[in-house]
Subunit: 152 residues, 2 copies
Amino acid sequence: MKESVKIEGVIIQPLKQMADKRGSVLHMIKNDSNLFKQFGEIYFSEIHSGLVKAWKQHKKQSQNLAVPLGAIRLVIYDKRPNSNTHGRISEYILGRPEDYRLVHIPPMLWYGYQGIGDQTSLIANCTDLSHDPEEIESLSDDTRQIPYQWKT
Amino acid sequence: MKESVKIEGVIIQPLKQMADKRGSVLHMIKNDSNLFKQFGEIYFSEIHSGLVKAWKQHKKQSQNLAVPLGAIRLVIYDKRPNSNTHGRISEYILGRPEDYRLVHIPPMLWYGYQGIGDQTSLIANCTDLSHDPEEIESLSDDTRQIPYQWKT
């Protein structure tokens, strides 16, 4: 896995893929996982090849992301003033079949992702709180407030 | 939607798809849904075009299915002796973009599905109990115990 810098509170777990000639079965998260606190919502986000969805920050909600189709470059920026990894940026490749894993993103981190590979990718997100626009901050993908340049 | 016969306890809800030029956002289930009781597990199952995964019966676990990629024919058979729809078989088409919806399958029903369309499809299942092989019964897709003939 390409992981340039570790960020405090971000947890990555391998996920099982059970091969079957009719189609694989892919784990995501169970109620006995140490990453599961409570159930907020499960939803999906498509990202077309090469395009970017960024940046988001959740004040309260934690994200649990997996990519059951295609592949993405996930980028996380730690702007938390009291974090041991304050100021760091980390890249994670998520996708099938080599990089099928769960990434837990705690609140207050900034994150975004880019579709890589040829096809549209699908991100699944299992959160611990249901959607509340009041707890979300957004910045454009080319903001100067985050020291990262998305690849073109 | 193609729905040949209604089955007691099976609930179908439309799901929102929010169009975005970078890729759609697709709802599945939230903690305030009337179909959400408690969180067991979220996992995915691929099904290749034309192939069948059938039949399964859960004694305790409820299924909440959505198909964020491709399309499937879901078939449910009601063999519950005390059901008002005992003996009935119902077909449901689930998939993108026209048939994106959530199907709730209560325990004790038999179900299976077939990939339709040209591509591999992806089924997401959000259950109310985590996986327990002890509560699952299986029959082969060509069993004579279920009066259904999968299309070839």
